[in-house]
Amino acid sequence: MIRLMQNPRIPEGINASEEHPLKEFALLFVGVALSLVLLVVMLSVTAQQLAPYIPFRWEQQLTQFDGLKDAPWEDLSTDRDEPIAEPAGGVTAAGSTAADSTAADSTTADAKRATQAAEQTLKQQAQTSLQALVTSLAVSMAIPSEMSFQVHLLDDPAPNAFATLGGHIFVTQGLLAAVSSENALAMVLAHEMAHVKFRHPIQAMSRGALLQLIITMVGGGQGVALNGVLGQTGLLTLLSFNRDMERESDAAAMAGLTQHYGHLVGAEEFFSEVLARHGDAGWRAAFETHPATQERVDAITARIKLMQTNEETSQQLTPLDAGLLVLKAKSEQGISLKHMSRNRRNF
């Protein structure tokens, strides 16, 4: 055997590719992105088509909890459908527990509980009024009989409203403070009811669940890097309602309001107010799920004009229900304009 006197010079490019890494990356990135987008679009469309066939009953079961205390929104709101006995002495047991503590303590505690109880009653009344309004609107909006709505009043001072699975509609106290007539409130409520009627929440949830599944499947092996970029960008924005859904709901809400009040006057009030307070989203509009506020106001006013030429009806604004007015007056005191400039909106 001949002994090597020198290590041989081995040609480069055998064990490591000499191709520019960016070229490979670009090719992979575009290919994977395109196929993912295709898959996502296909699944979204499928989910949207099939979701309305899920019985509404299942939605309701999904959002039913043993006692409202366990409900996830219990953290956000202070509303309760029925008084819940608390160890510290709730609304009903306030008097008896106070007697046990010292006199000084009990008077302040008593006063506190009394105001709390009063507030609770106010909210209860407001919620009952809201529920009544929703029930009467449901008739005008031709809501299928198997659907039912539950209105929840949230403590949030920012004007907002949203609908979720199982016909649950959430309204903030800020919204009550921002409207001056029942018509404006009814417009927002009808809009949320239309979401439920068209099964938008279950569509969004089905789509979201499918997308989550894809993300987990695709990113499963590769962890953070891929999961991060897939999960955080773009895809998540698909989880909420899209603009078409919002427009559809706006249209249905207008039809329902016309049916209910005979006119649309006052319906645009809330949107106009939002617009006046902090304008449109501007460049952010591209990322927003809702149509531009201006566009929505315009759509409503156009409808009003159209109807005014057609028929002559008494176009009176309906005042807010008494149960709502008290709470409205109360919330208005504590609400400053700065809450109106919050960006996050669901209505």
């Binding site: 064990n15 490591a16 191709e19 890494p21 290919g31 890097a225």
Partner: protein, 153 residues
Amino acid sequence: MEALIQLGIFTFLLLAGFVFGRRAEKKHYRSIFEREDRFRHIVVTNEKVPSPEFIQHDFTMVAGNVVISVDYFKVVSAGLRSLVGGRISAYESLLDRARREALLRMQEQAHARGAQTVINTKFETSRVSGNAGQGIGSMEVLAYGTALIPSRA
């Protein structure tokens, strides 16, 4: 908005990984070429039994080890590759560098001892940071062999 920030962070990491990783790789290869030429006379083989002419030589074990970190760009590139299959060239160059660097360090050690050749060379590899789960991994190679040194006696 949060999505945009996330995307920005991701792009920044990717860019930083690419720029610095690429610079480090180029620099490393230049150094490898230069040193391979310098140590070409220390022959490295994997034969287990030395040639008869080395019978009288002293012998000692020499080893070289190296750990090279993967950069973010390579991780993402490999992640994309794992979806479609094929050779992960981003990691291949890393393994190539690590293997050659480990050999060079072994040769350097042999050179310091005045050896002429290294026989019975073996490689080992392990993953120090790989078990961290989702973190960025690293490439680790250990090369060792028997250096044959002309005896002074």
